[in-house]
Amino acid sequence: MLGEFEYLLITAASRLGDDAYGAAIRQEIESTARRKCSIGALYTTIERLEGKGLISTWMGESTPERGGRAKRMVRVTGKGARAAKEFYDAMMRVSRGASWAVNQTGDTSR
């Protein structure tokens, strides 16, 4: 099963779609999860997820605001999407009945 940060990264990359690359994913994680995301944590996790076949990466275009440096683009693979769905379902199930999860049925199959 995925780790928490792996799930955050895959979800952020999935939300960003074709615009998913290092800086954008980092910003997405920091703004939605409201937690600090270091470059070290981001890139070691990207490497690990790529090694597991859950994401694929390639070098993209460079832009002036990046000082002419290329982006490392990220795409979630089918296997990665299934792993994220499994994590999400497990979190929903385990949260059922918890006081902070009122009105949550935990049923994601609908």
């Binding site: 290092g22 470059i39 070290g40 944590a41 990046r66 000082g67 440096r69 290329a70 490392r72």
Partner: protein, 241 residues
């Protein structure tokens, strides 16, 4: 580009070019200052190094080969220097590590020193190239200890314990350049070393712990034994690093 940013660029050198581009570009795009970018780069490099140590390879490289072989090779280097001095008629200390051997056994020892050093260097370079700096740092510390505490007592040159360095660095460089030792040359090298060590041993010119110095050569034979002569076994080994 500010001069301070050059520091970040230098710190990012250990990363490969594409990764360096991506990370420094991300830092610039996020508007990070030099300090934040430097912490990010150093944090990534530190994490990478820590992850390397989850494998058995760096541990074997440092504690199985690096430290024990460095100590033994420094002792052999001193012994060769002192024996040479004695045979050439130079004054050697009473404590100097030299035996009764003549020129023939000295030549045998010189060949063995080169072979032991080269195989150790080659093995270290093949096993875990990204943690070689740990071997180098610990080797430097041992050298400092040797030079500080033993050399004055033995009355030998400060360079004497480091004769092994050149062939060892040669071995490391060859493995880092991707040169692969196939099965047959590895067996030939290990056999030659074993024969010469036996000859030295029977002439009471080999210290018992020096038998450990054949282990890197045997390791090279073992890791190349999968597919004789093709070098594919070594290719597998390097992929697994």
């Amino acid at each position: 580009m500010s001069p301070a940013w050059s520091l970040v660029e230098v710190a990012a050198r250990p990363l490969n070019r594409e990764e360096r581009d991506a990370i420094l570009g991300d830092s610039l795009e996020a508007g990070e200052n030099t300090w934040q970018a430097l912490c990010g780069v150093l944090g990534l490099i530190a994490r990478r190094q820590l992850l390397l140590w989850k494998s058995w390879r760096p541990w074997l490289s440092v504690f199985g080969f690096g430290i024990p072989c460095t100590v033994l090779l420094m002792a052999v280097s001193m012994s060769v220097t002192c024996t040479f001095d004695r045979l050439m008629g130079f004054k050697v200390s009473h404590w100097a590590p030299t035996g009764h051997e003549g020129f023939t056994l000295l030549l045998c020892h010189i060949f063995l020193l080169i072979a032991w050093s080269w195989t150790t260097g080659f093995t270290l370079g093949s096993l875990s190239p990204r943690t070689l700096w740990v071997n180098a740092s610990l080797g430097g510390f041992l050298a400092f200890f040797f030079a500080r505490h033993l050399l004055d007592m033995l009355g030998v040159s400060r360079f004497a314990p480091f004769l092994f360095l050149l062939p060892a660095i040669w071995g490391i460089r060859q493995s880092l350049r991707g040169i692969r030792l196939s099965f047959r040359p590895a067996v030939l090298l290990a056999t030659t070393m074993a024969v010469l060590m036996t000859a030295a041993w029977t002439n009471e010119a080999l210290w018992l712990p020096n038998w450990l110095l054949i282990i890197p050569a045997l390791f090279l034979v073992a890791t190349r034994s999968g597919m004789p002569g093709t070098g594919e076994a070594s290719a597998r080994v390097s992929q697994a690093r």
